[in-house]
């Protein structure tokens, strides 16, 4: 490490103003602070500095994503084995999944970070770390069969139009990963839903009774009143399978168990807001009970038990990793309760009554992202009003 530091310090002057590679200063700075802790301090005034910075925040969130990510990789292999009747040994399954999604992860990182680097150079900014998490989140919320070029187009669109035009990391009002997902869904619907994209068959013939549809899609289009769903091998799937995540789906979000581990890491380290998570679950349950109480054969999914609704689809993933994104969520305490509750309720509302597209969590989070500043404004204004009234009553 010492040798590396020496080398870097040797080439450093070339990147300083006046040096030969002055233009590439932000690239140098990005790599330098990635490798070493900078010991620059401010020279004037008194500053309070938190031990936590955005690099550490991003790393912690990545750590929280890791259980879902690793499980998702294994699950890709497992679903493939179930669908084609291959043996289910742990190691080959994991590596099958790893190699299936590695190109997607690399694509997302190269395209996204590439754009961030270029924009940082053009504006003379430092390179921000915001994309470290988005780059892993994006493949995880997409079907395993998503072509890499589509992912690249969508990532480029999302990073430029949802983030860089507003000023880069920390200024985006929409969640970048979800914008990518929404772009893919509306631009290439045939590759983002249906029976053929959630299970990687690898060209092998499928077993009898095979279905590649996700549980949520099966429920949304199933016969009214029946709540039976089948796995890829045609055998019924239980609520426990849904909880552990042994079902097809966008590969990172199937396992509620791993999402709970991630949620615990986020909450213990204080990265995510427990208020948003709790109120989101409460909102979803409230809406589910309402939907269940007036269950209608027109909307088959309303017949599902409200608690099971939480295990289905991308809801749990969205509420833990997407809704709690500190940049796009509400900042005020009361606002967080309202924001989370509405995300849960709207997600379930879309799931129940939009049978064409039951995965409402993505749209719910994006919708509430737009309303978050308004909610905050109302909360702050009502505080101001209350205090003005109190002041008047005293004087």
């Amino acid at each position: 490490m010492k040798g590396l530091k020496k080398q870097i310090d040797r080439i450093r002057p070339q990147f300083e103003p006046g040096g030969r590679y002055e233009k590439l200063h932000s690239v140098f700075d990005g790599f330098y602070t990635f490798l070493f802790t900078p010991n620059d301090t401010s020279r004037s005034g008194v500053h309070i500095h938190d031990a936590n910075d955005s690099k550490r925040t991003m790393i912690t969130v990545l750590l929280a994503l890791l259980p879902c990510c690793l499980f998702g990789m294994w699950n890709i292999g497992y679903q493939n084995a179930l669908a084609t009747g291959l043996p289910t040994n742990f190691i080959p399954l994991f590596f099958y999944g790893l190699f299936a999604v590695l190109p997607q992860i690399l694509t997302a990182y190269i395209v996204g970070l590439g754009i961030e680097f270029v924009v940082a150079q053009m504006r003379g900014h430092e390179i921000q770390e915001g994309f470290l998490v988005s780059g892993l989140l994006i493949p995880m919320i997409c079907p395993v069969e998503t072509p890499c070029w589509m992912l690249a187009v969508a990532v480029a669109f999302a990073v430029i139009f949802a983030k860089e035009v507003f000023g880069g990391t920390g200024y985006n009002f929409l969640n970048v990963a979800l914008v990518t997902r929404a772009f893919l869904f509306f631009a290439y619907p045939s590759k983002m839903s249906g029976d053929g994209v959630f299970v990687s068959l690898n060209g092998l013939p499928a077993v009898d009774g095979y279905t590649g549809a996700t549980p949520l899609a099966q429920l949304a289009s199933g016969t009214p009143g029946s709540v039976s769903i089948t796995g890829v091998d045609g055998l019924p799937v239980s609520a426990a399978d849904l909880f552990w995540g042994l079902v097809p789906g966008s590969w990172g979000e199937t396992s509620t168990f791993c999402i709970l581990i991630g949620a615990a890491i986020l909450l213990i380290s204080g990265m995510a807001s427990w208020k948003i998570m709790i109120s989101g679950v409460v909102g979803a349950l409230a809406m589910s009970f309402i939907g269940h109480a007036w269950a209608s054969p027109l909307y088959p999914i309303t017949f599902v038990n409200p608690f099971e609704q939480l295990l289905l689809g991308g809801f749990a993933f969205a509420i833990v990793f997407m809704a709690t994104d500190p940049v796009t969520a509400c900042r005020t305490s009361t606002g967080k309760w309202i924001y989370g509750f509405l995300i849960g309720a709207v997600a379930m509302l879309i799931r129940f009554y939009n049978t064409g597209y039951p995965e409402g969590a993505m749209l719910a989070v994006l919708l509430l992202n737009c309303f978050a500043p308004l909610i905050d404004w109302c909360v702050v204004e009502s505080n101001v009003k209350r205090r003005t009234r109190r002041l008047k009553s005293i004087s």
């Binding site: 072509p147 187009v153 139009f161 772009f183 509306f186 631009a187 290439y188 619907p189 045939s190 590759k191």
Partner: protein, 202 residues
């Protein structure tokens, strides 16, 4: 390039004072008719014709119209012209007029037309007013055609209805971007044009 002063009303709306990307008028129809190139071109011609003729008529009448009822007079003139255009399209280009549906009728409410009548035709002689009408119509049309070009190319893989993206690409996994033919991408495409335009202007 030196442009004679008499031609200025024709030239400035094309880029420097463009009605869509600088004055941000007529956005509604720019979003609605640009999913395909053909309706965009027909819309351009219709708007240019209506705008030029309305400008000339109002300009010729400018000294006789009482100020208090000028909006009504303008509307009557524009409405009459729009009905003529609508009938011509129905007679000679029925398919396109079906595609454009209500938007031909809505030329009456196009902000560019009322804007030019109020701002230019009421204060100028008929010939400059005619040039101004043509210039603004074309300025509107340029943007429409650029937006429609990208939306049709990327959204449907065709231009003017002919397939331009080779079948070979589709066989190797290329797919049309369905979002391009939805309204949001029209807004974003217009935004990109404004972006490039501002960059060049500054």
């Amino acid at each position: 390039m030196k442009i004679s002063k008499s031609l200025l009303p024709l030239v400035t709306p094309l880029s420097k004072d463009n009605p869509v990307i600088v004055q941000v008028l007529g956005i509604c129809s720019a979003l609605a008719v640009t999913a395909k190139l053909e309706p965009a071109i027909v819309m351009t011609i219709s708007v240019t014709a209506v705008l030029a003729l309305a400008n000339v008529i109002i300009s010729a009448l400018r000294n006789t119209i009482p100020t208090s009822i000028r909006i009504i007079v303008q509307l009557v003139v524009v409405a009459a012209l729009v009905v003529v255009v609508d009938q011509v399209l129905k007679a000679f280009a029925y398919d396109v007029s079906k595609q454009l549906s209500v938007f031909i009728g809505l030329i009456i409410t196009n902000c560019i037309i009322m804007g030019r009548l109020e701002a230019f035709a009421l204060n100028n002689r008929p010939w400059p007013a005619f040039l101004d009408g043509i210039g603004n119509g074309l300025g509107y049309g340029i943007i429409l055609v650029i937006v429609a070009f990208f939306r049709e190319l990327l959204g449907s893989g065709t231009l003017l209805g002919c397939q331009v993206i080779p079948q070979w690409c589709y066989e190797h996994g290329y797919a049309n971007c369905g979002l391009m033919i939805l309204p949001p991408m029209a807004l974003i495409t217009v935004a990109c044009i404004i972006w490039v335009h501002n960059r060049k202007a500054s």
